[in-house]
């Protein structure tokens, strides 16, 4: 019987993120003891959820054998929409963020699934167009201050049971993602689509519909990330999020999501996001310039690829006999 927790023929793929995180904690903890202070760890534990939400969304897209480079722009648009919505309708208006995300995701999914455009070109087109829409909504990129900034600050900075409400919501969304991926029909179909698109066609599962759902989930989570961004900053940020898509892809890959599709798990992806956040915070504490931190993130992405190579090399897929 195959364990659901550790799948041997996938090798240590899902162990990469926890190991990286542990290594980062040991390394930075050794180099600067204040890295391990409660305040700093809490800091990382709150900062990471923005990236975690984006990475989870990215994970759905990658699991379906695509990817989405528009998540940063989508988060910025959602942040703007959430701020505009909250100013018009009060706190429920924040939902305009995820709705905007869903709309972008539907477009991405239709372009990839129905029109058959390669994901990178489709999401590149929407990336540029979505940035344009965000500028259009905000009079060429002016930030949108929340009218009720105090409520937003309460939600994102006042701890309830150790964490501010907004971050509990993020954790809830991550749990929901795990349920969707592992337990729901659509989640399993997305994974199936990624592992064998032809089979999805042959067994009569709606190919285009599944593809659309994958991108909808991706952009929906980017939309939630946008709301988090708005709550944290107290303003809608129409030009934020450049470069976030790369970090999200990095976190998803470090979290064991296979770029060839069909292999994904939520918790390692969150740990991958935590690792990148720990790396950035740790380097910052060392007084390293953000540019050098950028070099580190780049090398980590290449390193994660090399690790995947090592896993493939030392645990070839054929060696399943010991399962």
């Amino acid at each position: 019987m195959t364990s659901r927790v550790f799948i041997p023929h996938l090798g240590g793929r899902f162990l990469v993120a926890p190991l990286c995180l542990a290594m980062a904690v040991v390394f930075f903890g050794g180099a600067a003891p204040e890295f391990l202070s409660l305040g700093n760890l809490q800091n990382i534990a709150t900062q990471m959820w923005l990236l975690a939400l984006l990475s989870i969304g990215q994970m759905f897209a990658i699991a379906s054998r695509g990817f989405d480079i528009s998540v940063g722009a989508t988060a910025a648009l959602a942040s703007t929409a959430a701020a505009l919505g909250a100013n018009a309708f009060g706190l429920p208006g924040l939902l305009a963020g995820p709705i905007a995300g869903l709309a972008v995701g539907t477009l991405n999914g239709a372009l990839v699934g129905v029109a058959g455009i390669q994901p990178i070109v489709a999401t590149l087109g929407t990336l540029i167009a979505v940035r344009g829409i965000a500028l259009l909504l905000t009079d060429d990129g002016q930030v949108v201050p929340l009218v009720d900034a105090a409520a937003a600050a309460r939600m994102s900075f006042n701890p309830v049971l150790g964490l501010p409400l907004a971050y509990w919501a993020a954790i809830l969304l991550v749990c929901l993602a795990a349920l969707i991926l592992n337990r729901s029909v659509i989640g399993r179909r997305i994974v199936m689509l990624g592992s064998n698109p032809e089979a999805v066609r042959l067994v009569g599962i709606g190919y285009a519909r599944t593809q659309i759902r994958a991108y909808q989930l991706c952009s929906l989570y980017a939309g939630f990330a946008g709301v988090l961004l708005t709550l944290r900053a107290g303003t809608g940020l129409p030009t934020e999020g450049a470069g976030m898509e790369l970090q999200a892809i990095a976190a998803a890959v470090i979290g064991g999501t296979a770029l060839s599709g069909g292999v994904a798990r939520v918790v390692p992806v969150v740990l991958g996001a935590a690792f990148i956040q720990a790396l950035l915070t740790g380097l910052n504490l060392q007084g390293v310039s953000p540019f050098v931190a950028q070099i580190a993130v780049g090398l980590v992405i290449i390193g994660s690829g090399l690790l995947e190579y090592a896993i493939r090399h030392f645990f070839p897929v054929e060696h399943r006999s010991w399962t």
Partner: protein
């Protein structure tokens, strides 16, 4: 009469065999010429070509990588690093030394990419994305986050502003790049190997082709095109810029895709690169001439990228019509 017309049409088709994007480019040109004031003037045409030339040179490199079934993101920051290295080297070793150093940096990044992708069989996506970020960080660190001005000189600005027989140097470079790409892809051994490896690496390996070397040389050739573009770009801005052309990789991928090169590998021609680049350049130029707000410009560029790819995807594409309307030679 009709027989003669069909025969002539067939001959024309066999001679030029243009990609579908060629007709998109023509249609777009006609549309803009009719609707956009001052679009179809010779001064503006030179402007379009001058702006398109850098994109064109880099897109030639991207095309090779796409034919190999790969993808290359690191162009975006390697041109930035090259510009900074060039400006840092110029005071000590002269303009030629500076450009040589800048080009060498780009080639070195190409060697690294090629080695990682070919030797360790890593996904090109991951390698070049990581390289994009790492090199961007390196460029910003070297420059201290701010642009560095180059000592202005005639020689330094020649690659961007010079003319040979009245033709701007960047346009000559772009033409030479497309020409070289055409010759290499169509007539050289390595060009044919790139198609083979891109279409089916396993089959290529089984038929005795050295797949790793072929892939490595592909990324090296791509970085050579990028090095040429880096020289022109550095000369144009006259300084070392840590964020010189962040969208370059995306624009080149879009140009190739609009031209009709599938990202799956194994296909692609130089004429497609040229058409894709011209479509993007004309569009960028038209939105500026129309003096739209930035927001509308971005919306329109995004829409045209998607629209022109969609147009070629749709089964009733102009290219298909063109081919099916002319009976095949010999018939059945």
């Amino acid at each position: 009469m009709t027989a003669l017309a069909i025969r002539m049409a067939r001959q024309v088709r066999d001679r030029i065999n243009m990609p579908a994007s060629f007709f998109v480019a023509i249609a777009l040109f006609a549309l803009f010429a009719l609707t956009v004031p001052r679009f179809a003037t010779s001064g503006n045409a030179e402007n379009v070509l001058r702006v398109a030339s850098i994109l064109c040179v880099v897109a030639c490199g991207q095309a090779i990588v796409l034919i190999l079934g790969g993808i290359e993101f690191s162009f975006g920051s390697s041109v930035a690093l090259a510009s900074i290295v060039t400006v840092l080297v110029v005071p000590d070793y002269g303009v030629m030394g500076g450009f040589a150093a800048g080009a060498a940096v780009v080639l070195l990044i190409g060697v690294l990419n090629g080695a990682l992708i070919a030797r360790f069989h890593l996904p090109p996506f991951i390698v070049t994305l990581g390289m994009l970020m790492a090199v961007a960080g390196l460029a910003a660190t070297l420059a201290g986050g701010l642009p560095i001005d180059a000592p202005p000189s005639e020689a330094f600005s020649w690659p961007a502003r010079g003319r040979v027989l009245g033709v701007p140097v960047p346009v000559i470079a772009a033409g030479a790049s497309v020409g070289t790409l055409f010759l290499v892809l169509a007539y050289s051994t390595i060009g044919r190997l790139w198609y083979l490896v891109g279409a089916n690496p396993e089959a290529a390996r089984l038929s005795g082709i050295r797949v790793r070397t072929t892939i490595f040389l592909g990324y090296l050739a791509a970085s050579a095109f990028c090095a040429l573009a880096a020289i022109i770009l550095t000369s144009r801005v006259g300084s070392g810029q840590p964020s010189l052309a962040p969208n370059l990789p995306f624009e080149t991928i879009a140009a190739c895709a609009i031209g009709g090169i599938p990202l799956a590998g194994g296909q692609g021609r130089a004429s497609q690169v040229l058409c894709g680049v011209l479509i993007i350049a004309m569009m960028n130029n038209a939105v500026v001439l129309l003096n739209f707000p930035v927001a509308y410009q971005q919306l329109m560029i995004g829409a045209v990228i998607l629209g022109s790819v969609l147009l070629q995807k749709s089964s009733g594409s102009i290219g298909v019509l063109w081919r099916s309307s002319v009976p095949k030679r010999g018939g059945r």
